[in-house]
Amino acid sequence: MSSTAITEPSGPRPKHLTVGRIGLYAFLVIAALFFLIPLYVMIVTSLKPMDEIRLGNLFALPMAPSLDAWFKAWSSACTGLNCNGIHVGMLNSIKILVPSVILSISVGAVTGYALSFWRPKGANILFGVLLLGAFIPYQVFLYPLVRMLSMVSLYNSIPGVVFVHAIFGLPLMTLLFRNFYAGIPIDLFKAARVDGGGFWAIFLQLMLPLSTPIIVVAAILQITGIWNDFLFGLIFAGRENFPMTVQLNNVVNSSFGEKEYNVNMAATILTAIVPLVVYFVSGRWFVRGIAAGAVKG
C-alpha cells in the first residue's frame, strides 16, 4: 500500500473547466440575450429611418443613424387628432407622480406605524382588509369610484387620479412599513413611551429617522409603479391629463396611415426611461423592494 503513496501526486487538484461549467455559462448567456434582444431592437429601430426599417432587418445596426424619430416622438407625434408628441404625457405623468408618491408613502408610513406599535382596537381587521384589497382585481372598484369621485368633482382631474393612486397604493405601503417597524425592537418603543413620548412625537422623532431605508424602498416601488400605471390614468385622469403610458399606447396603436415604427420605438424608450433610470440607479435597493413587498415580516 505504501508503494502507491509515492506515486500519488500530492499537489493541488488540477483545475479543469468542466463541461458543466461551460453549459452553465452558455445557459446564462442565452438567457441574457433573450432578455436583452427587445431592448436592443427598440434602440436600433428608433435610430433608423423608415426606408431602412422596411428592409426587414430587425437586428441590423442602423446604416444612417439619426435622432429624427426621437424628436418627432417627443414633440410632434400624433395621438388621435393632437400632434404634440409624447412630451405632454411626460409632463402629466410627472404631475401625477410627485403628489401620488408623497401622499401614498405618508399615509402608508403612518398607518404602518400605528398598526405595528399601537395596535388600537380593530387594527387586525383593518390590516386584513387592506391586505385583501391588494389582491382584488381593480375592475371591482372602478365604476363606483368613478361615481364617487364625480360627486366631489374630482373625476377627470389630476387630484382625482392622485387620490386613486393613494387608495390603491395603501395596502403595499402599509405592509412595507408595518413589516419594517415589526423588525424594530418593541423595547425601543416602550422606552419612548416611558420617557413620555406621544403618538406623533415617537413617530416623527424616533421612528421616521430610522425609516430611511424603507422610505427609499417605498419610493422606488411607487415611482416605478405609478409611472407604469395605465388603467387609472386612462380612466380617472381625463383626456387632458393622460399620463405618458396612455399617450404612448395611443401614439402606437391608434395612429392612422402608415405606422412609423421608429417613432413608436423612440416614444416607447422615452416612456421607459424613468423606471429604467430608477432601476439602474437603485440597484440592490430595487431587489430589496421586491423582497420587502413579497416576503412576510
Binding site: A114, M148, V295
Partner: protein, 294 residues
C-alpha cells in the same frame, strides 16, 4: 387607567384615512358593484333588480367564455413559465459565477418596465411583416414562419411569452434571496452523505424554498387576474376577439359598451375567483403567527 380605546385615540385618529379608504373605497365599492350586478343597468345604475340574469347572460356570451379561456391559458403558461425560468436563473446564478451582478441586472430590468412598454416592444419584435420572421427570411431561411401575433389561435401564447419576459426576473430575485438563505452546512451534510447536487435541489432545497415559491406564485397570479395593459398594448384583444381577457371585458362593458349590469357581473365573478384562491394563502401567511401583544 384610561380604557384602551381612549388611550389610543390618537392612533385611531391616525388610522382614520386608512379606515375611510377601506370602508368607502374597498368595501363600499365592492358592495355597490355587486348590487349593480343584480340589476339591468345600462348606461346608468338603476334599481331594477333582475336576479342572476346578468350572470347567465355573461356565461352565455362567447366573448366572456373566450376571455376566461384565455385567462386560463395565459395564467398557466405565464405562472409556470416564470417559475421554471426564474428558478433556473436563480440556481444558475447561485453557482459562484463571474459577473453575477451583470447577469442579475439583465434578468431583472424588464420588471421595471410597464406592461404597455413590454407589449409594444414585443408587438414590434414579432411583427409578422417586418419583425423576426422577415429578418430570418432575409438571412436565408426562406421558409421561416413566426406569425403568431396575426393568428387567432396563437396570439395568446405571445402574450404569455411577453409576460414571462417581463416577470421571470421577479421570481429569480425572490428565489435567489431564498437560495442565499439556505444553511451552508446543509450542503456540506448532503455532500458527506453523497447526495448528487440535483437531488439536493429537488429533495432539500425546493422544499425549503416552498414559501418563496408560494409568494412568487401569489404575486404572479395577482398579475394574471389584473392583466389588461399587456393585452391592450400587444394585441388589443385581437385578432378579432381571440385574445380578450376578463379585465379588458369589464373595462369595455363599463366605459365603451355601456352595459353596467353585465360588466359588474363579470367583475363580481373575478372577485369571487380571486377570494377563493387567496383566502387560504393569506391565512397561513399572516394570521397564524401574530406578534405577541405588547
Amino acid at each position: 387607567m384610561k380604557p384602551r380605546f381612549l388611550r389610543f385615540w390618537m392612533a385611531q385618529l391616525a388610522l382614520a384615512p386608512a379606515w375611510l379608504i377601506v370602508i368607502f373605497a374597498y368595501i363600499g365599492t365592492i358592495i355597490w358593484t355587486i348590487q349593480i350586478s343584480f340589476t339591468n343597468s345600462k348606461v346608468f345604475p338603476v334599481s331594477n333588480y333582475v336576479g342572476f340574469t346578468q350572470y347567465s347572460r355573461l356565461f352565455a356570451s362567447e366573448r366572456w367564455i373566450i376571455s376566461v379561456q384565455n385567462l386560463a391559458i395565459f395564467g398557466v403558461l405565464f405562472i409556470a413559465g416564470c417559475l421554471v425560468l426564474g428558478f433556473l436563473l436563480a440556481v444558475f446564478l447561485d453557482q459562484k459565477i463571474r459577473a453575477e451582478s451583470v447577469f442579475r441586472t439583465i434578468f431583472l430590468y424588464p420588471y421595471a418596465l410597464s406592461f404597455i412598454v413590454t407589449g409594444l416592444v414585443w408587438q414590434w419584435t414579432l411583427n409578422p411583416t417586418l419583425g423576426v420572421q422577415q429578418t430570418m427570411r432575409n438571412w436565408g431561411w426562406e421558409s421561416f414562419t413566426f406569425d403568431w401575433l396575426s393568428r387567432g389561435d396563437r396570439a395568446i401564447y405571445v402574450i404569455a411569452l411577453a409576460g414571462m419576459w417581463q416577470a421571470s426576473g421577479l421570481v429569480m430575485a425572490i428565489l435567489l434571496a431564498g437560495l442565499r438563505g439556505v444553511d451552508g452546512e446543509l450542503w456540506k451534510a448532503a455532500k458527506v452523505d453523497g447526495i448528487p447536487t440535483w437531488r439536493v435541489y429537488v429533495h432539500i432545497v425546493i422544499p425549503i424554498l416552498a414559501p418563496m415559491f408560494a409568494t412568487a406564485t401569489v404575486l404572479l397570479a395577482t398579475a394574471v387576474v389584473k392583466v389588461y395593459d399587456l393585452v391592450v398594448a400587444l394585441t388589443n384583444g385581437g385578432p378579432g376577439i381571440s385574445t380578450e381577457v376578463p379585465a379588458k371585458f369589464v373595462i369595455e362593458y363599463l366605459f365603451q359598451r355601456q352595459n353596467l349590469g353585465l360588466a359588474t357581473a363579470a367583475s363580481t365573478v373575478m372577485l369571487i375567483t380571486v377570494l377563493c384562491v387567496l383566502a387560504p394563502w393569506l391565512y397561513v401567511q399572516y394570521f397564524r403567527t401574530p406578534r405577541s401583544a405588547s
